[in-house]
Symmetry: C2
Subunit: 305 residues, 2 copies
Amino acid sequence: MTAPDGGARPIDQERAITTAMEHVADLIAEGYQVLLTHGNGPQVGNLLVKNEIAASVVPPVPLDWCGAQTQGTIALLIMNALDGALAARGLKGRSAGLVSRTLIDPADPGFANPSKPIGRYLPKLEAEKLAIHGQIWEDRGERGWRRVVASPQPLEILEVDAIKQLMAGGFLVIAAGGGGIPVVRDAAGTLKGVEAVLDKDLTAALLARQVEADLLIIATDVPNAVVGWGTPQARAIGRISVVELRALAAEGYFASGSMGPKVEAACRFAEGGGVSVVTSLDQIRNAVTSVEIARFDVGTIVVAS
Amino acid sequence: MTAPDGGARPIDQERAITTAMEHVADLIAEGYQVLLTHGNGPQVGNLLVKNEIAASVVPPVPLDWCGAQTQGTIALLIMNALDGALAARGLKGRSAGLVSRTLIDPADPGFANPSKPIGRYLPKLEAEKLAIHGQIWEDRGERGWRRVVASPQPLEILEVDAIKQLMAGGFLVIAAGGGGIPVVRDAAGTLKGVEAVLDKDLTAALLARQVEADLLIIATDVPNAVVGWGTPQARAIGRISVVELRALAAEGYFASGSMGPKVEAACRFAEGGGVSVVTSLDQIRNAVTSVEIARFDVGTIVVAS
């Protein structure tokens, strides 16, 4: 399952994760084996700003390093919070955070047309200075210029064998955070990180397929995906098939930066025969129960047909 | 085993790690199972400088987060380099990097008298500004002021079960980087990161004992620990017992910031019945062979008696 990101301040992030892990601990206490992944957008944003501001004193690090950094900190917070939440329930914590790479295709069309905005807005002059070093910055109107990078398709989570090995030992594994660290493999078999960002939800669907999970839960801020969001005709989506949901997506009902990739991820996992749920964090336990008893009345539940 | 840190620039770090992993891959190719740990001093130093310089724009993150960040990036580089080096030898890479916490005692005497210098030198006025927020800065003479933190004793690597589970599956595990992320456990069982640094060599010895390793290799820049370093009487230490080595240490032969903790770590592991080797990275394979055939003529080899 995926959990929403925390805020910008360390204490806010810690609190958000502690709250999230209460819900996850409830699931574990009921006997479910959970494999966790997470986003890292705000955290990578902070690291990029630090990179820029300190560039004259400390060499900036590439985007794949930023991803790896956030996997470290977020796994740390999750492990601490989860072990604590489990201890409070009389259970011994057995969590494990894996630094995880995701294989991508260097010929992915995303690289020809980088479109994913990252980091902060800058005035034109500052953006142009950074563009000299190979970064791509776009004029975003009144708020200024913003860096854009490729967001290629995740092909394979390279750490899947390690994930399975830990799960077989009963560990609650945290893996593929931020969509995984994007790497490419050359003809000689050498792996190398690349400057790109991966979509956390699409990677979550891939991860769920690679470990043959029964259920993919995408935890977000709203209890359901909604058709006509923000209009008087707004209608929450309950149980739905992949074909029906894709048709709604094709009509443009889901925002590309938020619900869009969640819907697509839910469809990809359900296509493989699993069940996907998109719901709010405080509803994940009810949603799992609802699927378990085949009532399907909590969250947006995506099934093959 | 532990490896020396890379330089400050990302490309330097990548190169240093790629070189180091060639030697590690040689060992793996011979059939040895390797568990890797590493330092993170220069990397944490860089993160602290970024924290300071960008503090007015991005909330600084605590020291335990910095440690977690470096575990992420260094594990990433090690995994990429090692998988490549193994592929070049016709072997399939099976590496796994674990975000690792090390339990410490909140009553450790190190907290009463923080003495480990971290980050950069600052002028008095800037140091005083940071000291207001609870940091301890010391006047270090001509070069300026420097932050000091506690360096408590590592008591237990909390991820040892996960490490063992992965090793049982044949994985080359990277764990407890930078000595592990220091955490304390409260009465309720809740774990929390603390602002401290751990000695990577002492943690390496603990890790080796916890996984019941046969051999602890501490890879450094010199082929042997030396008595009378830098004097005409300099004498390289070969095979030596814990009692003999501790006697030399008590006479002040080993610098507290460099060879001192390596010698102490080697003694701690050898006390438990294992064999410790302190040598240069390019000699680790020869040193292992030398121990294997009981010749003991490469590196400083520490044995129980």
